[in-house]
């Protein structure tokens, strides 16, 4: 058996396009998933039982069902149910936004709950409303503690986006499949994209470790 990377490298721009699309799906899912996660967390923390119940159900449902099933559902089933035109990109962004929002919700909830009750009281005592307390006092402290868990989850999200290749979105995984068929060089193609993912994710996780250590040094606790 002989390694031959040349055939693959000549089509490297295809892989780069895939990489860009991978980052695009990840970025969009983060963009929608994070605010949605905060909304779910606040709902779940609400003392209004129906609201917290619904939020808890959504969170648990999306945490306990496989992302690939969710993706298939949004891609194949949803368009029939509500008559929308579904593209692989939209299906992917919808799926991963909601899926990761369920995980972000738990991080937000953990972060908010980790803040000492006295902080709510201090804010309340000077006349702040719930929203003011949350925005000015609680979240600025909670978010700092959540950063490591948040980054870890974002990396998981990046890895999960490989699933979009199964509904023919041209991410890095999909492009690799195409290229492997075209060049008859699956060993080289899949090894190269494994390496590309590795470098990307390794760099992100090193940054995340560095941030975590800095936060630990500054005396900030973190939540998982």
């Amino acid at each position: 058996m002989e390694w031959n990377f040349l055939a693959v490298l000549s089509d490297f721009d295809l892989l780069l396009l895939g990489l860009v699309n991978t980052l695009k799906v990840t970025g969009l899912a983060l963009l929608f998933g994070v605010p949605l996660g905060l909304l779910l967390a606040l709902s779940r923390l609400s003392t209004f039982k129906p609201l917290s119940g619904v939020a808890a159900f959504i969170v648990e449902f999306f945490r306990t069902t496989p992302p690939l099933v969710q993706l298939f559902w949004f891609f194949f089933a949803l368009p029939i149910l509500v008559d929308v035109r579904m593209t692989p990109l939209i299906a992917a962004v919808v799926t991963f936004s909601i899926q990761s929002s369920a995980f972000f919700a738990e991080i937000f909830r953990g972060g908010i709950q980790s803040i000492d009750k006295g902080q709510w009281e201090g804010a309340k005592a000077i006349g702040m409303s719930y929203t003011q307390s949350l925005r000015r006092v609680i979240l600025p402290q909670a978010v700092k503690r959540m950063i490591p868990a948040f980054m870890e989850r974002s990396i998981e999200l990046l890895k999960t986006t490989t699933l979009v290749s199964t509904v023919a979105y041209t991410d890095l995984m999909f492009q690799a499949n195409e290229l492997a068929q075209k060049t008859f060089r699956p060993l080289e193609v899949y090894t190269i994209i494994a390496l590309m993912y590795f470098v990307l994710i390794f760099v992100f996780s090193q940054i995340s470790i560095w941030v975590e250590q800095r936060l630990a040094r500054s005396g900030e606790g973190t939540v998982r």
């Binding site: 000492d116 006295g118 902080q119 009281e121 201090g122 804010a123 309340k124 005592a125 000077i126 006349g127 702040m128 409303s129 719930y130 003011q132 000015r136 006092v137 600025p140 402290q141 700092k144 005396g219």
Partner: protein
């Protein structure tokens, strides 16, 4: 003397536990009232009901003659906005300071003025510096709370409350979490406030402070006011056995003869 706070028939329960069983109290402008009582007597709960940190189970509370909340079908209802506005008029200082660790001392004292009262930054800063001066901590304005001693933190917390120009101040065991050598500086600040004519309700274990500074001492037991009078009377010639027992438990405190 004009009335600032009036409490009528205040009840508070947590689940099955009745903590306050009908409190009636009127506090006049300029009065310093010290509330004594053993733990579980309901003294902190009573204080926390005054600014609705705890919502009363029953009863009425009036600030300068205006009843808080609206009555509907015999039940009191409170809107969040009304309670926020009320709390902005009543200062509160806690046992554990509850300073905001992500803000500097100055930002802590400015926060409520800017966010709640809507004051401009410049005005809020001037007010904040004036209050920090008053508690003797102007030079710590740019520090973060983590760098202050317990006594300094508590004085900042007092400045934070004062900066809102409160009509009355509530002190909830503000020296209980402090090392003994830091208690004095906080009590001194409180005494100075009392002498300047601030209306104050203080839950504390500092009998010396009660004796020397308070105009009036209350003794709470089992959710009801058992003693209410001038410190000389309540602390030296209490009417009830329960109060005498309580004072015996504080044998370290020597009242002047």
């Amino acid at each position: 003397m004009s009335e600032i706070i009036r409490i009528e028939n205040l009840h508070k329960s947590f689940g099955d536990l009745q903590v306050l069983k009908g409190i009636d109290l009127t506090v006049n402008a300029g009065e310093t009232v010290v509330i004594l009582g053993s733990s579980g007597s309901g003294k902190s709960t009573m204080l926390r009901c005054v600014n609705f940190m705890e919502v009363p189970s029953d009863g009425r509370i009036y600030l300068k003659g205006d009843m808080i909340g609206t009555e509907r079908n015999g039940r009191m209802q409170y809107r969040e906005a009304e309670l926020c506005a009320l709390r902005a008029r009543i200062g509160m200082v806690f046992q554990h300071f509850n300073l905001f660790p992500h803000m500097t001392v100055l930002e802590n004292v400015m926060e409520g003025q800017v966010i709640v009262l809507g004051r401009g930054k410049a005005e809020a800063k001037d007010k904040a510096m004036a209050q920090l001066n008053r508690v003797g901590l102007a030079e710590k304005a740019e520090e973060y709370p983590a760098r202050l001693s317990g006594g300094q933190k508590q004085r900042v917390a007092i400045a934070r409350a004062l900066a809102m120009d409160p009509e009355v101040m509530l002190f909830d065991e503000v020296t209980s979490a402090l090392d003994p050598e830091l208690v004095g500086e906080v009590l001194k600040t409180m005494r100075q406030l009392a002498e300047e004519g601030m209306t104050m309700l203080c839950v504390t274990h500092e009998l010396g402070f009660a004796y020397h500074v308070a105009h009036r001492v209350l003794f709470l037991n089992n959710g009801a006011i058992l003693e209410d009078g001038e410190p000389q009377t309540v602390l030296k010639a209490p009417k009830t056995d329960r109060m005498r027992e309580f004072l015996d438990g504080h044998s370290l405190f020597k009242l002047p003869d």
